[in-house]
């Protein structure tokens, strides 16, 4: 019950949905959803294309395809739950910047859903891509206030730049369509965006990995996991470049602008460093992992939503709580 000058305010039941714990839980849920989508829908199911379809592979393939469809549908729903919680929290804290970013994100989500059923129009797509750029940039403006090593935060900025560059590339194409011009090619933005994505992944991992020495026996596990991941990607790319290139495009959106060896190293650093980073700065680690799993180029609208939410989660700061909006003018 809050007491103001001459008035007693009735206590309202608190919105557990907007508690920090709930938001953290929902962020982890989104990470699980998008990671499942990456592993099952975008990797294993795609890989099954290359496997002969005799039994029992065809039954297994069908089952995996069904699981992949569920994961694909769950990602935007998990994203909406997290977005809702963040909106409630933004209302609680009264931070206008956060409110603007989340509102823009809600419009992007609605636009992506609308495009599932409505014919795409270049004007609408241009607006949505512009909002994606705005959300990506707006989310990382306060990255210097976020918890975590400087290197990891720089990596996050690179990931945000990658998201923005992908959207700018689409916007350039759409602007050209609207203007009836065949001028500027969006390929440059695509290439730079892929570079930025890979650098971001590597830096986020490095930000965690540099602290590995403090983790005693468990550091061996992290390093082994990272090495295995890097070797798998590197050896597969060396042995079957066309197949791994196709899988890379389908799963993570990297279309060959970055050499496979560098992608493998970046992945290894991320697998090694993110668990370590989680112990220092959980929000940054979870958010960066969400962005990583959402991939570059973000072909599906659910992945656009997830990637942007990852940025918002990663840049969350726990600054002093000003109290409910209505109470801020009251005497403490």
């Amino acid at each position: 019950m809050a007491v103001g000058a001459g008035a007693v305010r009735r206590a309202r039941p608190r919105a557990a949905f907007a508690d920090a714990e709930a938001i953290d839980w929902l962020a982890r849920l989104l990470l699980v959803a998008v990671a499942t989508d990456l592993i099952v829908t975008r990797f294993v199911v795609r890989l099954a294309i290359f496997v002969p379809k005799g039994e029992p592979f065809s039954t297994l393939s069908a089952a995996l395809g069904r699981l992949g469809a569920v994961a694909d549908a769950f990602v935007p729903l998990a994203g909406l739950l997290l977005l809702g919680a963040l909106l409630v929290r933004a209302g609680r804290t009264g931070r206008r910047g956060e409110a603007l970013i989340l509102s823009a994100l809600a419009v992007v989500a609605a636009g992506g859903f609308a495009l599932t059923y409505l014919p795409p129009r270049p004007e609408v797509l241009l607006v949505l891509e512009s909002l994606v750029v705005a959300v990506a940039v707006g989310s990382v403006i306060h990255v210097r206030d976020a918890r975590g090593p400087v290197v990891a935060r720089i990596g996050l900025v690179a990931l945000a730049a990658a998201i923005a560059l992908a959207a700018i590339g689409h916007a350039v194409d759409l602007a050209g369509v609207l203007a009836g011009s065949s001028g500027v090619s969006a390929m440059t933005f695509n290439v730079v965006g892929q570079l930025s994505f890979v650098c971001g992944v590597a830096l986020v991992g490095l930000g965690g990995a540099h602290d590995l020495v403090k983790h005693g026996p468990s550091r061996g596990r992290f390093m082994a996991a990272g090495a295995v991941a890097a070797l798998l990607v590197g050896l597969t790319a060396a042995r079957a470049p066309a197949t791994s290139g196709a899988i890379m495009i389908w799963s993570i959106g990297l279309a060959g602008a970055v050499p496979d060896l560098i992608v493998a190293v970046a992945l290894g650093l991320a697998v090694t460093g993110l668990p370590v980073l989680y112990r220092q700065a959980p929000a940054l680690a979870i958010g960066a992992a969400i962005v990583l799993c959402s991939g570059y180029g973000l072909a599906a609208s659910g992945l656009v939503l997830a990637g942007l939410l990852g940025l918002v989660v990663a840049c969350r700061t726990e600054r002093p709580d000003p109290g409910p909006v209505g109470d801020r003018n009251q005497a403490p």
């Binding site: 557990a16 549908a73 636009g111 795409p120 389908w250 992945l303």
Partner: protein, 344 residues
């Protein structure tokens, strides 16, 4: 972690999993694909279907499509012959034309020698949702327009084996006096007699109209269904191929192309004859969206989008308003007070 805080959230998450499962079972999509799109431009008057390098094509912005090698089934191509193909499209009231352009150092137009293969390109249209990009599947077939450089070279004057091997003996033919009752002077040309389009003496187009429902099911349409017109030109190391067709023809084996409808899903493929590309040895793209022009609309005509986007803003505002009325607890106030060094 305090259980009462998280339990309602977990219930919501479980409900979301259930909804996602239900949606995927009944086939209701909740996400759209925002991948590569080719926007067809409306043209006034006749389309430049016979002039691939006509200036009219500049009105349509080309979309550069990344290609990979076909590495799914044998014969596999591990490295694509072409890194990309440029696609653009024009539409008028009754016809659509799609232009494919790619860089090719050699011009390969003959298949007459055993070791010779022709340049080719193809566009495949999904005939249903969820169709496999790899030659379709039983649940969702493809309509394929397949242009061949050797067919294009044959259009003005059909080339034959004698042109490659001028010293070869004359083919045995049925006696002339049996012409009226027998299969004719070309009776030993069994491919032609069987109606094999590859053997045809004359063809209506350099583009073959086909369907497929999976690997090994590629089937040419009946002669009366071959309604795709093709033209091509090779200039300075660049191929340009135009494939065009009437927008609506009522053929159930053909893709429906209707301006104003949702985007059609297509993919492209290309073959380099000088590298021995043929059959499954091809460079392929992933799915793209072919967006036909909508009728001219004012801002208010886009009311479905405006409505949904406005609804999103209003709902966001309402949710934040709801949040503003909540007490100031549980928002992650760091232990020890408002200190940035506190934990999460």
């Amino acid at each position: 972690m305090s259980r009462p805080t998280v339990t309602p959230t977990r219930l919501l998450a479980i409900a979301a999993v259930g909804v996602a499962t239900l949606l995927s079972i009944v086939g209701i999509p909740v996400t759209s694909a925002q991948g590569t799109a080719v926007f067809a431009v409306r043209a006034d008057g006749a389309l430049p279907v016979d002039a691939p390098f006509d200036a009219a094509w500049d009105a349509a912005r080309s979309t550069e499509v990344v290609m990979t090698g076909q590495a799914v089934v044998p014969p596999r191509l591990m490295v694509p012959s072409f890194p990309s193909v440029r696609v653009r499209s024009l539409v008028n009231d009754d016809r659509i034309a799609i232009l494919l352009e790619w860089d090719d150092a050699t011009r390969d137009e003959s298949v007459l020698a055993v070791e010779s293969f022709s340049d080719a390109a193809a566009i495949q249209f999904a005939l249903g949702s969820g169709t496999s990009v790899c030659m379709g599947q039983q649940a969702g077939g493809l309509n394929i327009w397949h242009w061949k450089a050797d067919w294009a070279a044959d259009m003005p004057d059909r080339q034959d084996v004698e042109d490659v091997h001028p010293g070869m003996p004359d083919e045995a033919r049925f006696p002339v006096d049996m012409g009226a009752e027998g299969p004719g002077t070309d009776g030993f040309l069994t491919g032609q007699m069987a109606g094999n389009p590859r053997s045809a003496a004359t063809r209506p187009s350099s583009v073959e109209d086909l369907n497929a429902v999976g690997f090994g099911t590629l089937t040419t349409q009946e002669p009366e269904g071959q309604n795709v017109h093709g033209s091509s030109e090779y200039r300075d190391g660049v191929w340009r191929v135009v494939m065009s067709r009437p927008l609506s023809n009522g053929d159930p084996n053909d893709t429906v192309l209707q301006p104003g409808s949702a985007a059609t899903v297509i993919a492209v493929a290309a073959w380099d004859g000088s590298r021995g590309d043929r059959n499954g040895l091809k460079s392929v793209s992933t799915w793209l969206s072919l967006v036909l022009p909508q009728k001219p609309m004012g801002p208010l005509d886009m009311w479905p989008f405006l409505f949904l986007l406005t609804l999103a803003l209003v709902l966001s505002g309402l949710v934040m308003l709801y949040g503003s009325r909540q007490p100031a607890v549980g928002l992650g106030w760091p232990p020890g007070g408002p200190d940035r060094g506190g934990g999460e």
